[in-house]
């Protein structure tokens, strides 16, 4: 079953728009939730969230975790064409003595000029 679900799967916006990307998860022994941006090949790290309600911010991007709702959102304000990418959400959780990082399918964002 899908442990990490992202929505929408894709969206197209115009430069200057604000977008909200959603991620919900269902795991036991949650440790953290991470957001990545994937443009061509290697995903690049954006945020790691461990505590509920504390917003992480980096420039025009921000993210927050809701552990009660088992979800997170990634906001991008004043979008630019360079924001066009796949945005991946991943959940880090314990599995016995080890831990795993499980990704969602990703959200494809296209920003039109």
């Amino acid at each position: 079953e899908d442990k990490v679900v992202q929505s929408p799967l894709s969206l197209v916006v115009h430069e200057g728009d604000t977008v909200t990307l959603n991620c919900s998860y269902e795991v036991t022994n949650f440790r953290s939730l991470l957001w990545y941006k994937q443009e061509k090949k290697a995903p690049t790290f954006l945020f790691m969230l461990t505590s509920s309600g504390i917003e992480k911010k980096s420039g025009r991007l921000s993210s927050i975790l809701d552990k009660k709702e088992l979800s997170s959102i990634l906001n991008i304000t004043a979008t630019q064409t360079g924001d066009s990418a796949i945005y991946l959400c991943a959940v880090h959780y314990y599995t016995g003595a080890n831990s795993k990082l499980t990704f969602g399918k990703g959200i494809t964002l296209s920003v039109r000029p």
């Binding site: 991470l34 290697a42 995903p43 991943a90 880090h92 795993k100 990082l101 990704f103």
Partner: protein, 114 residues
């Protein structure tokens, strides 16, 4: 400093063949993880190695195996290739086994099975 490097960049194999993919972590990083990313999907965890020991394994068949060498580089082997093994194979390195937020991904190896 060099980032995570992977080789080869691309390769094409035939069904039934075997393939070996290589990964060199960032200098000083002792943990290497492998992921498979099929087109339209997020990366799926295959293996994690730390200090040459397997520390995690995803839901992949025994055709998939890996190892880590004393210099912390790693190889992923896939036997009896199937068409469904066509994917981007990503390697990620981190200093410690649990430091996923400091996990740096390599550019990947694009495997096509025909």
């Amino acid at each position: 400093d060099a980032g995570v490097t992977q080789s080869p960049t691309h390769l094409i194999k035939t069904r039934g063949q075997q393939v070996t993919l290589r990964c060199s972590p960032i200098s000083g990083h002792k943990s290497v993880s492998w992921y498979q990313q099929v087109l339209g999907q997020g990366p799926q965890f295959i293996f994690q190695y730390y200090e040459k020991e397997e520390r995690g394994r995803g839901n992949f068949p025994d055709r998939f195996s890996a190892r880590q060498f004393p210099n912390y580089s790693s190889e992923l082997n896939v036997n009896a290739l199937l068409l469904g093994d066509s994917a981007l194979y990503l390697c990620a390195s981190s200093l410690l086994t649990g430091s996923v937020n400091e996990q740096y991904f390599g550019p990947g190896t694009r495997l096509t099975v025909t």
